[in-house]
Subunit: 430 residues, 2 copies
Amino acid sequence: MTTALPLNRISASDAAAAIAAGKLTSEALVAACLERIGQREDDVRAWAYIDPALALEQARRRDRETPKSRLHGIPVGIKDVIDTCDLPTEYGSPIYRGHRPACDAACVAQVRELGGIILGKTVSTEFATRHPGKTRNPRDLGHTPGGSSSGSAAAVADCMLPIAFGTQTSSSTIRPAAFCGVIGYKPTFNLVNRAGLKFLSESLDTIGALTRTIPDAALIVEELSGMPATSFAEVAALKPRIGFCRTPHWNQADAASRANLEHAAETLAAAGAMVRNVDLPAEFSALSETQVTVSSYEFFRALTHERTRFPQLISPGLTARIAAGGKVSRAQYEDGLTLATRCRIQIADVFREYDMLLAPSAPGEAPRGLDNTGDPIFGLMWTLLLLPCLTLPYGKGPAGLPLGVQLIGAHGGDAALFVHAEWARRALIE
Amino acid sequence: MTTALPLNRISASDAAAAIAAGKLTSEALVAACLERIGQREDDVRAWAYIDPALALEQARRRDRETPKSRLHGIPVGIKDVIDTCDLPTEYGSPIYRGHRPACDAACVAQVRELGGIILGKTVSTEFATRHPGKTRNPRDLGHTPGGSSSGSAAAVADCMLPIAFGTQTSSSTIRPAAFCGVIGYKPTFNLVNRAGLKFLSESLDTIGALTRTIPDAALIVEELSGMPATSFAEVAALKPRIGFCRTPHWNQADAASRANLEHAAETLAAAGAMVRNVDLPAEFSALSETQVTVSSYEFFRALTHERTRFPQLISPGLTARIAAGGKVSRAQYEDGLTLATRCRIQIADVFREYDMLLAPSAPGEAPRGLDNTGDPIFGLMWTLLLLPCLTLPYGKGPAGLPLGVQLIGAHGGDAALFVHAEWARRALIE
């Protein structure tokens, strides 16, 4: 280990190295995480379900085995829209109170196979949409943690564990990560297998990670997908070509966020990056609205069982969004997918000139209050484009809460995004 | 109704019109289907689970309602890899004996919402792969019905009901339909919502339909997706442009199938179609192998829970295929998807010149014996290309069992495929 941090604060990468070297037990690591949870959960409310005895028993079993991956002995949090066979899975909805799936989701079973510890289920908003769960922002308990990966972001930010799965259909990994001040990573669509994920919008739903370091975000997705392990050894020698993309929604970011992002661009340029403004083609302006069209057509269908049998147990906000989805015609949906396909081809050209784009993560810091999870506007377009996105904490808002900068990579260029984003992180923060 | 067929033999379209006109009750229709099942199920073994009382109760309830769609009162069979909340769902595997999901799959809940009757669960092979279930080919009980949609194809062929869902990852709708002598329709990828489908290969798995008429295949997918209803009124006036595509696997078709398809091409030309030979670009020859690479990478992951916890309950054949999938690297998988993307663009150009392609549905008639479900070779490429495919019964093999001809449409051109395929059906069969 390179740090003397308390065990609950060390990264998964460092912990895995220490476990592999025989210098740390999974049991000690998990116990430290559980202790932190015990101290803080009444305030933060990040967990939908946790079974400390079961987690410790898994850890002790791992400690008797030879490490088989970089996840060996590492506690992982599972967003509660992802099935677990030994813990309840409620999808953030009272419809599924106490529900126990028969089968682990693929990503959960893979974590187990790789030696990881399923620490518990983290709070999701209702079916990973916008209606909030019980979680509070650990940076200030009066503020939302963001959504829909609320519990995963809050738990990782509060050092209750090093890694938790998030999912993103709109901005559900990037936004809560930015609000809680951690790394949020939404991979390229189709990098982590989705069997056992409760679908909202199958063309867009993407499983990602909330972590406190970029190598940790890389680690879990690499292990699950079979991508080679990214080396961060040459990061210092990079000279990233960064496209500063204010997006068509720049005016929806508040003054502090806009100034913060301008400052980030200047700092990155001063550190040696090539930073140029990127204006997207005009038709990209329709992408965010199109994301709503496409996703709502799909969730009207995906949630048919729930909306027809339990309408009284669905929040008014989601009820209204479902009704709007039911009015989207197949032709409108297909037009939306056609636009998305066209823009995916055009954005690939942009990435011939840039290693990554720099854009807002959210319109501002985490809003005060717990009755909504904030605005997903700065995630919609990138999710519809299926691109890998990573948010870094950088700067503070007027209330002293974290701001984020979002870095977007080329389709399938997740490994390149990891190293360029790590370069940016060091330039901005170290 | 235009025919005086027994009720269990009439099409869904005719039945729906009669129900809407007050000339037929759903109860009478369902009772006729149940009677047929009672007579034949001991031989055919199409059903994984059926609850006659529950089906009749649904039908009586529908008879008290005003019809709300063209599925109102129509019995539908559900392949047993698709979740139902009121009937067991075993995915063709002993691992899930007696499993009862908490939630209907989207397509099941949609059928209910549209007024359809869930008649029961049809036999699937093991997780929709190749290890056979108990079903026999109703045309000759000593022959396989094909797979993986074995029960759906056999039940529809045996006039136990008019429509059943199939799924296809390789050739799991087209092959059993051809072997049993019915219509099999695999839509363009992403036409029917897949929430609640047990995933095998999420990039390829497609929900489709087994029916006895083309309008019935159109009907169910139109109702679920919100596509406009296809009119078949102008079919006789069509002059389809048909590309005769023997595929790179032509030599794997037996002599009877090759001669049958040549004869079909001549008959279609004689009836007024433009029929020309289509040779696909050289790199299309790798697509079938690539389908295996892509799907096995995915099912290695999708079935992690099962392969790690219940290896002794997985068939030797699937165990070997899973192991092979575990050896596919992420780079090989991505190379496969890249080739598929490139070929999808090229095949779009082919469809500028042709309304549909004509190709084999299977290497021959249904093989004798029940220990394997036949060779999926003639489905792999089209599934990987995400194209709509429809098989028509045409001709007989040496043992007197049905042969099929496969018609393939442009991506998203399902409605055009329906009418051109109906033109072809009339030219070939009427």
